[in-house]
Assembly symmetry: C2
Homo-oligomer: 308 residues x 2
């Protein structure tokens, strides 16, 4: 079986922030045989449907999640990196985002790394992102006081009106992050879920309470500019006994079943709101990817390659 | 009962590094009645002998440990901050240092915060200090690879010859800490016990392995100069899932009995070596204190006010 496959490749080595011109759309015939050939497409987490299979564990038309590519079709050897997907009545996009790795990152980072308690004061940066918005929603479900930082006022409004944040602010309008956090947290911060690194981390540590916890999930401020590194006061870290911990979901796959059970229940009863930002077609992948670095997306950025 | 008491006071507010002229030696008659008067002496952890007591739980000539003062005598109300001391045959100085809070800091920070395993690669800064030298000795007892950083070559020799460190270096002779640690840890650092903060922390994080742990015990580089703050890469923290955790012994008093049992056993069987730096007399307290900031002491700095 041969199909024409559109896919995205990297044209040049990407230095710091990606640009559209770093990528190239290619079209190539691809033979869907049992043995995969090699191609130069880029891997990404997603949901796919089996078109043809030589593996008896996977049948035609079954849905799977796992490492697919930035393209319409992918040839897979073996198939051990995929698991079958029961969509449980949810749109497939949920399974690529809030019920996928973004959701697991929010769940494991918040519950395992931060060990939150009801009533604690929680600060989330990048709070309208795929992980941040869910951390916030988990914090509210637990009964925490919650403030988020984002990069524009539309996002501020969504956090407060749609997602139940107690407060939110646009960091681009705050000349002094430390003073801003002092204002939003007059009683200090117990938990900081950090998606940005840089000066916001420094300001959060300065405003942190005794035994505060920082889950280091991302450092977008540092991806594109190493000079924006954070220099939190280590005296604060020692005397306030602060824990700063990086994590990746690969260490927390054991929590997946608990997470899916909790998140799907609250999606059904309406206590968790989906927040998705969907583009269409392979052609839109590079711009969708670049948006992540510019902070243009609101919620989980999804590219729909084909209809559900 | 009235005695003449020599004690040390603070003359001026101390800005950053203390100087001898910040302190003053005073002599005053002190009436050792049951009700304490107030004085302006400075509190410090130490071992003392009861001279007179109105508390039936404490008898004359009993030894106690707790918050004594920078002076020859102290009037204590109640006495609940003291516990009786059984010296177990050890010199009293041990109980003010390696069997006291310094030892507990080393024990709790290393075992509870770092959770070390045999064969792991351990880096200790301030490695000849009261806490650092014991962390190193615990690490060797467990079978770790161990390197320490110190501020002069005499200390390097002591760590390697007396305390069994696998290697040690004088940070003042290293223009590039990151390169130095790369040389001493070609396979990376699993555990960093941080007594100094600043650039050494940044370099240790850069050389850290996956799932590395940093116990933040002190930040001497930052006490006296806030511009020397560390700016570790948060991308390293996230991708290598590094934990940086501050701690104080007050959170770990529950470990005291285990610690004393372990440390006293190894002092007796010679597997832990005492490392003490003893001055004599109340007059020597300010200079002893200042030495801590200059890194002049080797091992636990003790001031002996009276003979055992």
């Amino acid at each position: 079986m041969e199909v024409s496959n559109k896919y995205i490749t990297i044209k040049t080595q990407i230095e710091r922030a990606p640009k559209e011109t770093d990528f190239e759309l290619k079209t190539a015939a691809i033979t869907l045989s049992i043995e995969p050939g090699s191609n130069d497409a880029i891997d990404a987490f997603g949901v796919a449907k089996v078109v043809v299979s030589g593996n008896p564990e996977f049948q035609k038309d079954e849905l799977v999640v796992g490492s697919i590519s930035w393209g319409e079709y992918k040839l897979v050897k073996g198939g051990d990196r995929f698991r079958k997907l029961d969509p449980m009545g949810f749109p497939l996009s949920y399974h690529a985002g809030m019920l996928g790795y973004s959701g697991l990152a929010a769940y494991s980072g918040f519950f395992e790394i931060c060990k939150p308690r009801k009533g604690e004061k929680v600060f989330v940066s990048g709070a309208s992102g795929s992980v941040g918005n869910l951390v916030g929603q988990f914090a509210k479900l637990l009964g925490c006081y919650l403030v988020g930082s984002v990069g524009n006022n539309e996002k501020v409004a969504i956090l407060k009106k749609k997602l139940g944040f107690d407060d939110a602010f646009n960091y681009k309008e705050e000349p002094d992050y430390k003073a801003a956090l002092k204002r939003y947290f007059p009683d200090g911060i117990d938990i900081y879920f950090d998606n940005v690194g840089g000066e916001m981390l420094e300001a959060a540590v300065a405003n942190m309470n005794l035994l505060g916890r920082v889950a280091a999930c991302g450092a977008i401020a540092e991806y594109t500019d190493a000079t924006k590194r954070a220099a939190p006061s280590m005296l604060d870290v020692v005397y306030k006994r602060i824990k700063i911990q990086g994590f990746l979901i690969s260490d927390h796959m054991n929590l997946y079943a608990d997470f899916i059970s909790m998140a799907s229940e609250h999606l059904l009863n309406g206590k968790i709101q989906p927040l998705e930002d969907i583009s269409n077609g392979v052609e839109s992948i590079p711009s969708a990817f670049i948006e992540l670095f510019q902070g243009d997306n609101i919620g989980k950025k999804i590219v729909r390659i084909a209809e559900d």
